[in-house]
Symmetry: C2
Subunit: 370 residues, 2 copies
Amino acid sequence: MSEMELPPSLGVCGNEKIAKEILSKIWGKRGVFTCTVANTLTSTIPGISDAGDTPELTMFTPAADAELLVLGRTVCMKGIPINPGGIPTPATLTKAAIELSGMPMFIVDGGCRVRPNIPCIELGGECGNYVTSGKAVSNVRGVFEKGKVLGEMLSRGFDFIVVSESCAGGTTTALAVLLAMGVVKENLVSSSSPNNPREFKTKIVMEGLKAAGIEIGDLADDPLRAIECVGDPMMPANVGMIIGAAKHVPVIVGGGTQMAAVIAAAVKLDRSIIGNVFQGTTRWLMEDPQSNMEKMMESISRDVPIVYVNMDYSASPYEGLQAYEWGYIKEGVGCGGSSVAAVIQSSGEVKCDDLLEKVHEIYRKIMSFD
Amino acid sequence: MSEMELPPSLGVCGNEKIAKEILSKIWGKRGVFTCTVANTLTSTIPGISDAGDTPELTMFTPAADAELLVLGRTVCMKGIPINPGGIPTPATLTKAAIELSGMPMFIVDGGCRVRPNIPCIELGGECGNYVTSGKAVSNVRGVFEKGKVLGEMLSRGFDFIVVSESCAGGTTTALAVLLAMGVVKENLVSSSSPNNPREFKTKIVMEGLKAAGIEIGDLADDPLRAIECVGDPMMPANVGMIIGAAKHVPVIVGGGTQMAAVIAAAVKLDRSIIGNVFQGTTRWLMEDPQSNMEKMMESISRDVPIVYVNMDYSASPYEGLQAYEWGYIKEGVGCGGSSVAAVIQSSGEVKCDDLLEKVHEIYRKIMSFD
């Protein structure tokens, strides 16, 4: 197509020209979905993460999300991951997008304490330590290098690649890495709760920076060191995969503020990926009054655009899904990126209404409403 | 195509009708290559395995093969795996086939003591014990189930799947499983040496059966138990993958007698895969006077045909490669299956001459003749 026209299912923010160039390159082509799961003990600090019914259960959320995507049910825990109040994991939308598109998927183990009971691609990572330790992630360079190899391997088989994450506590470690790199100077990150505990998160993050002996912006040129000090094990895997893949095929970085930290690190390590990468996310995240994705992405690079899916749960008969409209969840498990990919791979045939219908089907099945 | 005509690069043995039906279904389509690497302590028994310069080095061969395929060089050891006498690993041919076809590849870790330094798909297996212990493989059911899931996952993304192996000592464990299942009553298995130490292998295998308290044919109906007693960790992974994938897409089982044991187990566990599976191997194996693949496959099922690639190294300027014509190596690391797949995926455009030229290029590069 000459001038790409966006379907109503998608919106663009940031450099529209680059976004449309990438979209026309992969429109109707074959993608692969990947989700990197990881644990950080940071999520068990009470008050930090709502990605789980209790602080302890946040450790089970990544594995359960992955099992849900691959098996359609969870094995490592009973029921599906929920936020306090019973709001279901965004993996419900991810699963809908994958089923409608027919995209194959792979789960990458960035470093888990609780491992999913499914085949995972291992990169040699381990569960992350508390961000407050200042020594948050081990074997960063090794996992990053293997991630690069994996990105290259996947680019042999597919026309584009979706990279995403499920890592509870990840917005806190993202904030820490973004501050360590000086990409942001203040807390712009999101949360899976509308009552984003910003001050508490900032306090925890500042403790981590202090323990690592670094000030805001000190590690502007050493993103892997920033991850090592105050990041989480999802990061080196995904930074590597993005760099390895984007040399060959376009990469959709699926996720919210957690993936902003990953993009910041990847762009710093290899600027040549710009023009072959966009962030894929949801309308919910873009409209979040508690965070500012646009501003954050602008300070990373003006040339990594955002493509978001215009999902709207306000007409859903299920309160657990309506809650997404009230500021809960908003992103995670690549729900935005996979939805954007489903629209792309189907040349726009898959629409938000189709996704919504499929989410309802999956939600009913999981909740045994049927 | 109505009646499939085979290109001169390929030969068929066994049920030609089924072979041609499968071939016409996947001719020119997109495949994926997988290789399952595993260790069994059995390979370190002096005299059992020639897949390595010394008995100790046989433990490094699977990991080194996988690194060679993915990275183009080895990390876990110096140089590439060789048989005593310097005959290079068949991974050289596998790599040629993968490069010429553009097929993506994944390495599956069936259970390794020495792990490859690359991204691997983990199924929860561990290094195998001596076959003489009668307790050769742990977690067989778990790995088998995850293998099934992996086979299904791969079938979402590709039109056909190549399943293969690198597991030194594997012809001995294959013989043991085939005897335990009663598929063969005598030693028909191959070896990577033309001086196939048949009597010694049979003695070792009979020790294993005795330690497990089983007679020939006792486990005809329980292949997973046969693997647990006297198999190796490559087997449950590949049996699962074949069953999981062949429900959806054709599967090429790449390998020699080692994979005959895997096919026997898979067919016993799920007969419905027949008609969607063939063995992909080399002319060298088919012509091996020391073994009898045709006879062995007939006793497994008359309806799992063999498709072999007519590679011929007799005109090669390199003695290490000529040795393949003298009965060395013959198969392994899916070299036959990947070559057959390269012919299929290219609709016959890739010919044995192209493969030979590419093998020479790779061999020169590895040996730094260039």
